[in-house]
């Protein structure tokens, strides 16, 4: 049987041949993925199994690799956002804003306070949807479909807010250099208010469904635990690291976009197991809601939504038709003829899964010389084989979904 699934030169084939259990059962091979509903994305794991227990795993990734770093080297700066929102497509506004902030750091642009607060709001909304999907899908994988169906409608509500802000829902391509492409409509703020009113009720009920649920606890406590040292050595960041007990959060360590103005806690877990990851994400949703409320309260008066940087920010269309100067700026920006300093920039932001870093090297031309994305999923997914060793097959599924591995970010 095993010969059909594995090429004979594979190292597992040799192990299976040599290992004969006393009761006559032989080890077996199981292909987990690449396309299976339980893996929530396209990744393959070749599992070496003794009955239902996993002895070893060999991950294969790259099924949706789209060469974003190569494409980015051939595109002007403003055309790179659509690439970033296809990385972690569950929280694309965070990636978009991270990319704009990288460019603003490069060009030395100061974004107005109001635009920074708007960015904080949309980034926290994105974090909420990201954690909402991860936690509710974790529920589905442990057999509880109800919670998922219940909270998932709020992702739709958030997408409607995105729609009001930028016109798109999933791959948002939101913002421009220096701020947003247009001011938020009153409808966006109205929808945000409704969301802030309705969502906490639902999220509380969702928490009640799971947090003290006997079945859920049995399925998740001490499953896929990772120690703080191991997590650090494997380059974990974000909720998965904080679940292991380390309170590293880019929003606190290196505040960007005025995060220092807000008062929020960094929830940490203890054991780094699946249950702790679930709880840390739950708690972070509450903190995100609190940040959004604070940002709305502190929002400066006026309707400033972008910085005055005519070299990089497209002028209004009426001006382009009627005004020589605006026409020139418009032409220069669209053709990518804008002044860019020669520099090396690394800008980290706290994404849904951890530190998303943009390492940008420019040579003064209209495209990046080199752009490297630090993708948290890619970095921590390499710990997966170690985390599932000795676990049951059903635990492997739960661990995978609690790590929140997003295929788009994994493969870039």
């Amino acid at each position: 049987m095993s010969e059909l699934l594995l090429p004979p030169e594979h190292r597992y084939a040799k192990i299976i041949k040599e290992q004969l259990n006393e009761d006559g059962n032989e080890l077996s091979i199981l292909n987990l993925g690449p396309t299976h509903p339980a893996t929530h994305g396209i990744f393959q794991n070749i599992l070496l199994m003794d009955g239902e227990r996993i002895l070893d795993a060999e991950p294969t990734i790259g099924y949706i690799h789209r060469a974003f770093e190569k494409i980015a080297e051939n595109r002007p700066f403003y055309q790179i956002t659509p690439l970033t929102d296809r990385m972690n497509y569950c929280s694309s506004p965070i990636n978009n804003m991270g990319w704009w902030m990288t460019l603003e750091k490069l060009l030395g642009i100061e974004v107005p306070k109001r635009a920074q607060y708007l960015r904080v709001i949309v980034m926290e909304l994105a974090r909420i949807t990201d954690h909402l999907i991860c936690n509710s899908i974790l529920g589905v994988d442990t057999g509880a479909y109800t919670g998922f169906l219940y909270v998932f409608q709020f992702r739709e509500k958030v997408y409607e807010i995105y729609e009001e802000i930028c016109g798109a829902r999933l791959t948002t391509n939101m913002g421009r250099i220096g701020g947003f492409e247009r001011d938020w409509s009153p409808e966006a703020f109205r929808k945000l208010d409704i969301f802030l009113e309705e969502f906490p009720v639902a999220w509380k009920e969702f928490e009640n469904l799971f947090e003290r649920n006997r079945i859920f606890i049995d399925r998740t406590v001490n499953v896929g635990a990772i120690s703080a040292e191991k997590a650090m050595a494997y380059g974990f960041t974000g909720p998965n690291l904080r679940a292991a007990g380390i309170d590293y959060d880019v929003r606190v360590a290196q505040p960007y976009s005025s995060y220092e103005d807000f008062d929020f806690k960094v929830p940490v877990g203890k054991s780094g197991d699946t249950y702790d990851r679930f709880c840390v994400r739950n708690a972070e949703v509450w903190e995100s809601l609190s940040i959004i409320r604070q940002a709305l309260d502190k929002m400066p008066e006026g309707n400033e939504y972008h910085a005055e940087v005519p070299d990089y920010y497209l002028p209004p269309k009426e001006d382009v038709y009627n005004n020589m100067e605006s026409l020139i700026y418009h032409f220069k920006i669209v053709m990518g003829e804008v002044p860019v300093p020669v520099a090396e920039i690394y800008h980290p932001v706290e994404g849904g899964n951890g530190e998303i870093g943009f390492y940008l090297v420019t040579d003064g031309s209209r495209t990046p010389y080199r752009l490297h994305f630090r993708r948290p999923c890619f970095i921590y997914y390499q710990a997966y084989p170690e985390m599932i060793k000795g676990a049951l097959l059903s635990d492997a599924i739960v661990i995978l979904s609690s790590l929140n591995v997003i295929a788009g970010e994994l493969d870039a």
């Binding site: 060469a67 050595a233 360590a253 290196q254 390492y359 209209r366």
Partner: protein
């Protein structure tokens, strides 16, 4: 007390002498160049020294500089982070173009395993001593290294996307 750039520089220079050079503050990150032959010792020192404590490898990536002299055609860039003092550092190691190779960090940081595989996959940089140096995102049958500058992104025969029509030379794109 914050970790000062000068303190890092003095410490490194007194330990490694000529192997560390070109210290500069690049915007918000302190960066330096190292001799690629001594990379593991320098990075291990940065990680374990009780004052420096750069214990977290944030990022590792490669860059191709075809215009550089032959012994500086490739670079491996390490970003390290000290969480205690919240200090980042960027380390560059330049490699020669003929046979780019550098020692692996996978015994120092578990996380560098896949990052190095990715760098090998895209640039063909050989990480000596790596436990499993094979392609990771591209297919195993591929023979070229796609992030090298000479690798064209699309069919070179296309005429509809020629940059010369927009008043640019090919190098300017």
């Amino acid at each position: 007390m914050a970790l000062e750039n000068t303190a890092i520089q003095e410490k490194l220079v007194s330990t490694f002498g000529d192997d560390v050079f070109n210290f500069q503050q690049e915007r918000d990150i302190f960066s330096l160049e190292i001799n690629a032959n001594n990379n593991t010792a320098i990075i291990l020192f940065l990680k374990n020294d009780p004052e420096l404590r750069f214990h977290f490898l944030t990022d590792l990536c490669g860059i191709h500089y075809p215009e550089n002299p032959a012994d500086r055609q490739f670079a491996v860039i390490y970003h390290m982070h000290n969480w205690y003092e919240n200090k980042r550092i960027r380390i560059k190691a330049f490699l020669n173009g003929e046979n780019p190779e550098i020692k692996t960090l996978s015994t120092i940081f578990l996380t560098s395993n896949w990052m190095e595989r990715e760098t090998y996959d895209f640039f063909g940089i050989n990480f000596i001593g790596h436990p499993q140096l094979k392609r990771i995102l591209n297919m195993d049958e591929m023979i070229s290294f796609p992030m090298r500058k000479e690798f064209p992104m699309e069919d070179g025969g296309r005429t509809d996307k020629d940059d010369r029509f927009f008043g640019r030379t090919v190098d300017n794109c």
